[in-house]
């Protein structure tokens, strides 16, 4: 690879190797080399013109272009360089004939070579590339491509030859002449430019120097650098030329470029110092041979002599931050720069204001670090972010004289004097941090140790929140306080606090429980002027917290009073998700408290769609109908709750199914004969149906199978079997032990099962009994007599059970007033016939176009006729026009029979 082997290899490998070389020498100095070429060609014009006019004319043209290009190159105006290059190619085409005669002119090849070098150099300078304007970078890339192509197609050999040994190709005078004149002419060119530029910069140029890549006005800076260096380069040129005067070998170039690079580096670091120690440096140049990869060292912030004061630091800060968000900005470096700047400010004791300001900027830069909003921060970045936040927070708390806020304008900032005003919103940073925290949790696997590690930061996050809260309570506006309160609430509401649950009434209320905190925070939010969204979220969190701690009535009342059910559909999706979570938690709470119907009602919406996972934002379900677009999926993924906030879905389903069972089984037993069977829970029916479809039903394994088995035994009133299916080791491990105080819940379930089984039993088998002893029932269901009495009384009152209680004998006497199955079937049939007849008549109406039976009396007359047989059959006597609802028929019928019965019993 090294250039010493080049001579032996063929042309192709040569190009390769040359490219390699160029890559290695990261920053060959552009200015001196270019100036040289430019110089000699320029000078050559004068001498040549007289001798050979035809050739000269062409070459003159070309050299002119080359000269222009040189100028443009120096200010890195790529668009113009490209134009020049294209013009040069055209000129070369024109001069084809001359070239054929004369051979390729040396200066042209050199120009190409230089341009290539230059392009490569610029290409390497990534920071510069990123900072330039779009137009410029476009021109640059096209220039680079065109140049490469051009060289490869036409002058590959020449360029390589030239590179290898520029002297052998052409021993024209041209090459020799420019060398000595180099410095002079360079100076000539330089000075005029230099003069106007320097005064243009009011600030010490040194400051700007380490930011050569920031935008268009950088051109000036670049020039500046170059001009500064020009002094050195002049000298170095002289040095070089001393040992190979006029002979521009490859070594010469390479060495030069190396030296240029290192010079530039050094110069950047310590421009002033360098000037003083030029001689030493020259020695250095010799050593840094062969284009060893140079690591870009970060330039110093300030010049040695420069006075570091608030303005200077601010200026610097402004410079750094102005690069923010630009395409080519290295975000990592930005953070580093800011950190360094802060250190400098600190060491120079520039005061709190600057410190705070810089902290704001650093944290902001850290948040900026990740360009992709979906991926989370790296751990180390996150940790540093947390620590910076802590520090800043501590500063703010310790120094109440520092005022921060978004409302403070940039111009109103006061960074030096006593009431300090700094622009920046700490609350926003905290919110951003919270967001990042969620994102980090989302991104790691919930079952890994990584998740646990990250979750440990929750404490720190809460700590920061707490401190911020205290800070803002003093300094913040109401809105800010509301926001931080809500953040606090959101970190609090889902955490179970055992001290909050009352175990007994006589126990004194403990202080400082999360309940009280929640209460305080939420009440503030309710009463203060806060946006609706914050308030809604606070309410939901409050309800959730109540529900989580078994405070059913508070939770329910709050839910009902807030009227959230009505308008939750209008709120944003995260709030709706929170609503779902709250509703589910409310349902679970109701279940624990034994309010089965409430539990069912709360859970039915979530469970009925079979999309509980999605509705609670605990995972994505494969969407069968319409595939999500990737964007949609990303959005949905971002909404997911971190794992530690999840609600156990199996628990949820089990609670739902058990409450559905407790409601549905007696209901089904009571309404077996109804024409249209209404369902309380479709999902429950679905589960039952699924199990019925199975050919072989083994002993229950899953939670669902247990519930199904329990339901089946409940249907027959076998409460013991039912209880054993619901409460056993398997179910305990799967479900019930997840509750706080699982024994209480289990006891509650047992009692409920006993009661509902009793009801089911009465519904199903009442037609077999004439009388039933309460004692027997109490024994059968292991319930108290009073409970049995209560249940039966209630059933009688609700007209669910046609019976009466005989107090002296403690028996239930069945009235046998329910229509038998055959009778109810007949009733159903009559209904069906009615509709059939109606439909038939409608056909007739359509057919005839006139409506013979339209008036009402006709209809009334006719109807008894159609279904009279059935009505007479079931009702014994015809009365009124029958209603089509069999329920009402039943009721009439029952009432009449009741009367009969009571008459009979009186007689008896």
């Amino acid at each position: 690879m090294s250039r010493f082997f080049k001579a032996g290899s063929d042309s192709e490998s040569e190009t390769e190797s040359s490219e390699d070389d160029e890559i290695i020498q990261q920053r060959p100095s552009a200015a001196p080399v270019q100036s040289r070429t430019f110089q000699f060609s320029d000078d050559e014009d004068d001498s040549r013109r007289i001798v050979r006019s035809a050739k000269d004319k062409r070459f003159d043209e070309m050299t002119n272009i080359i000269q222009q290009m040189k100028n443009h190159k120096q200010i890195k105006d790529m668009a113009n360089v490209l134009n020049d290059f294209e013009a040069l190619i055209k000129a070369a085409d024109k001069a084809k004939k001359v070239i054929q005669e004369e051979g390729v002119p040396r200066f042209f090849i050199r120009c190409l070579f230089d341009l290539e070098e230059y392009a490569n150099e610029c290409w390497e300078d990534k920071e510069w590339r990123k900072s330039i304007s779009k137009n410029n970078s476009k021109s640059f890339t096209s220039l680079r491509q065109k140049l490469k192509k051009y060289i490869r197609e036409k002058y590959e050999k020449e360029v390589n030859d030239y590179k290898e040994n520029p002297d052998h190709g052409d021993d024209d005078k041209r090459d020799e002449t420019p060398a000595p004149q180099d410095e002079e002419s360079e100076d000539e060119v330089d000075t005029p430019v230099k003069a106007p530029v320097k005064p243009k910069l009011p600030a010490p140029p040194v400051i700007k120097k380490q930011l050569p890549k920031s935008m268009d006005d950088d051109d000036d800076d670049d020039d500046d650098i170059d001009w500064d260096s020009s002094d050195d380069s002049v000298e170095s040129d002289i040095d070089d030329e001393q040992f190979d005067t006029g002979k521009l070998t490859a070594e010469y170039f390479l060495k030069k470029s190396d030296s240029g690079t290192s010079k530039k580096e050094k110069k950047r670091k310590e421009p002033k110092q360098m000037k003083l120690e030029e001689t030493d440096e020259e020695g250095d140049w010799e050593e840094v041979k062969g284009g060893a990869p140079l690591i870009m060292e970060r330039p110093k912030m300030f010049g040695k002599d420069q006075e570091i004061n608030v303005d200077a630091v601010l200026k610097k800060l402004y410079e750094i931050t102005s690069a923010r968000g630009k395409k080519g900005t290295d975000r990592n470096e930005q953070i580093e720069l800011l950190k360094e700047l802060r250190e400098i400010a600190e060491t120079n004791n520039l005061g709190l204001g600057i410190d705070v300001k810089l902290y704001f900027n650093i944290i902001g830069a850290i948040f900026d670090y990740n360009p992709n909003t979906l991926t989370s921060m790296r751990n180390d970045v996150w940790e540093s972010c947390l620590s910076y936040l802590q520090t800043l927070l501590n500063i703010l708390i310790d120094h109440p004289e520092v005022n921060v806020g978004e409302h403070i304008k940039e111009d109103d900032e006061n960074l030096t004097e006593a009431p300090l005003y700094v622009r920046g919103c700490f609350l926003t940073l905290v919110e951003k941090m919270d967001e990042e925290f969620t994102k980090m949790l989302q991104s790691c696997d919930a079952h890994s140790t990584e998740y646990v590690e990250r979750l440990q930061d929750e404490r720190q996050v809460c700590d920061i929140l707490e401190k911020t809260l205290r800070y803002l309570e003093i300094k913040g506006t109401t809105l800010e306080i509301s926001r931080i309160y809500l953040k606090r609430i959101e970190h609090l509401y889902y955490k179970f606090d055992t001290s909050c649950v009352y175990t007994g009434d006589n126990e004194p209320k403990k202080e400082g429980t999360s309940e009280q905190t929640m209460d305080k925070l939420c009440k503030f939010l309710y009463t203060s002027e806060t946006p609706d969204r914050l308030r809604t979220r606070a309410i939901l969190c409050h309800i959730y917290h109540h529900a989580l701690h078994n405070r059913w009535f508070q939770a329910r009342d709050l839910m009902l009073m807030s009227h959230l059910q009505d308008n939750i559909g209008h709120s944003d999706i995260p709030t709706q998700l929170l609503y779902n979570r709250t509703l589910v938690q409310l349902g679970l709470c109701a279940f624990r408290q034994g309010n089965i119907r409430d539990a069912h009602n709360a859970l039915v919406d979530i469970q009925s769609s079979n999309r509980a996972k999605e509705l609670l934002a605990q995972g994505l379900l494969p969407n069968r109908q319409n595939e999500r677009t990737p964007e949609q999926e990303k959005i949905e993924k971002r909404r997911l709750f971190p794992y530690h906030m999840h609600i156990n879905l199996e628990l949820l389903e089990c609670v739902y199914l058990v409450s559905a069972m407790l409601l549905e089984i007696p209901f089904m037993a009571a309404h077996e004969m109804d024409v249209r069977r209404r369902m309380i829970s479709k999902n429950f029916h679905h589960v039952m149906k699924m199990s019925e479809r199975q050919t072989l039903i083994g002993p229950p394994e899953s939670m669902r199978e247990h519930v199904v088995a329990a339901s089946k035994s409940m249907k027959t009133g076998d409460w013991k079997a039912c209880k054993n299916f619901i409460i056993n080791d398997k179910m305990n491990a799967k479900v019930w032990d997840l509750f706080f105080q699982p024994d209480k819940v289990r006891d509650m379930i047992t009692v409920k099962i006993q009661e509902e089984s009793l009801r089911t039993y009465l519904f199903t088998y009442s037609n077999v009994y004439d009388t039933l002893s309460l004692h027997t029932l109490a024994e059968m269901f292991e319930l108290d007599m009073s409970v049995v009495h209560r249940i039966i009384s209630k059933m009688i009152i609700n007209e669910e059970l046609m019976a009466s209680l005989a107090e002296p004998t403690q028996t239930v006497i069945m009235h046998r007033t329910e229509p038998s199955r055959l009778q109810s079937l007949a009733l159903q049939l009559s209904d069906k016939f009615l509709t059939l007849v109606e439909n038939n008549e409608r056909i007739l109406e359509v057919k005839q176009g006139i409506y013979p039976f339209q008036n009402k009396r006709d209809r009334n007359d006719r109807q008894p006729g159609t279904s009279a047989a059935f009505q007479h059959h079931t009702q014994g006597e015809g009365y009124g026009p029958p209603t089509s609802k069999s329920v009402t028929n039943n009721q009439h019928w029952n009432r009449r029979n009741n009367k009969n019965y009571s008459r009979e019993s009186r007689n008896y």
Binding site: S820, R821, L822, L825, A826, Q828, L829, K832, F833, T835, L836, N839, N840, R842, I843, V846, K847
Partner: protein, 329 residues
């Protein structure tokens, strides 16, 4: 065949005891207590005005893994074998078991049509195993009426065609009386057997439990009524659509006429005639055969229920008087 066709149609079916027993046996063994349908082939001969059915054999129940089973070939083979042992081998119809009298449906009509189309005298025997278990042997022979044959052959079940043929639900089938005939030897055997019979077995037709039977019948009836209602609804919708289309057509024609009148006043040529059928595609009215069949089925159920209740009432009265007798004694 030609001579047979000219003969007077079959007046009654004479069923051999053997056929009845085989039928019951087949149903018992394969019909899973009457819920599954079983089918088989009837063999016999037409003599004068009666159809003598002297033998039968079941269609084998082929499971799904024997898909290549060839039914026709099996029947031919079977008949050939029977012929070898000198048994009647003429195909005279088929039999089918039924569950609570549910048999009037499309497949039955279609296959009976095919039978009658190729073998004119063929009948279908409907056997009700549930009734038989209650002590009433229920074997009924049905044929499609000639009107139905003609109607079916046109394969056009629209309302117009139904009216054209004057088809109603009770004109689809004709029931042919069935007579069971045993040889004298069998009769004497039966006499012998009767003496050995226990008393209890003789009177199982006196079973008083009626509700389950009635319930089931009612349920079936309800299903049928539901189906009919649906069908009627469909028809109704179709009617309405047709009405709407008619109105649209009328409006269109009126407008057309007005336009033409205007044009005539202005001396312009009238608008070209357009195909109205293209503008208003005639709507397909739903086939009414299903409705007919449902009606037939409902009719059948009703007859069944009424006959059952009559018998039951009789039994109940008998039981009542017997009980009163017992009490007074």
């Amino acid at each position: 065949m030609a001579t047979r066709k000219q003969r007077a149609p079959v007046q009654y079916v004479q069923l051999d005891g053997l056929v009845v027993l085989k039928l019951i046996k087949h149903c018992q063994e394969e019909g899973a207590g009457g819920t599954d349908l079983v089918q088989g082939v009837l063999l016999g001969l037409v003599v004068d005005n009666r159809l003598e059915i002297t033998n039968c054999f079941p269609f084998p129940r082929h499971s799904e893994d024997q898909e290549d089973f060839n039914e026709v070939q099996y029947q031919m083979e079977m008949m050939r074998n029977l012929r070898h042992v000198n048994i009647d081998h003429l195909h005279v119809g088929w039999y089918q078991s039924t569950y609570f009298g549910t048999f009037i449906n499309r497949p039955l009509i279609d296959s009976q049509y095919n039978y009658q189309d190729s073998i004119e005298e063929s009948v279908v025997l409907i056997y009700d195993p549930l009734k038989t278990t209650q002590g009433f042997l229920s074997v009924k022979a049905y044929r499609l009426t000639p009107a139905m044959m003609k109607f079916h052959s046109e394969n056009d079940f629209t309302t117009e065609n139904i009216t054209k043929h004057g088809m109603t639900f009770d004109k689809m089938f004709e029931e042919i009386p069935v007579v069971t005939k045993n040889s004298h030897l069998v009769n004497s055997l039966l006499c012998n057997l009767e003496e050995k019979d226990k008393e209890a077995d003789k009177f199982n037709f006196l079973d008083l439990a009626t509700s389950s039977m009635l319930q089931k019948n009612l349920r079936q009836l309800m299903e049928c009524v539901d189906a009919t209602t649906m069908d009627i609804n469909k028809y109704l919708n179709c009617q309405r659509q047709i009405m709407r289309q008619q109105q649209a057509k009328q409006q269109y024609l009126q407008k057309r006429q007005q336009d033409n009148a205007m044009r005539a006043q202005r001396g312009e040529p009238p608008l070209p005639e357009e195909d109205l059928n293209k503008l208003f595609k005639p709507l397909q009215s739903p086939p009414r055969l299903d409705c007919l069949l449902y009606s037939g089925q409902i009719d059948n159920y009703c007859q069944q229920i009424s006959s059952f209740s009559t018998q039951s009432l009789g039994k109940l009265f008998m039981a009542e008087s017997l009980q009163n007798d017992g009490q007074s004694n």
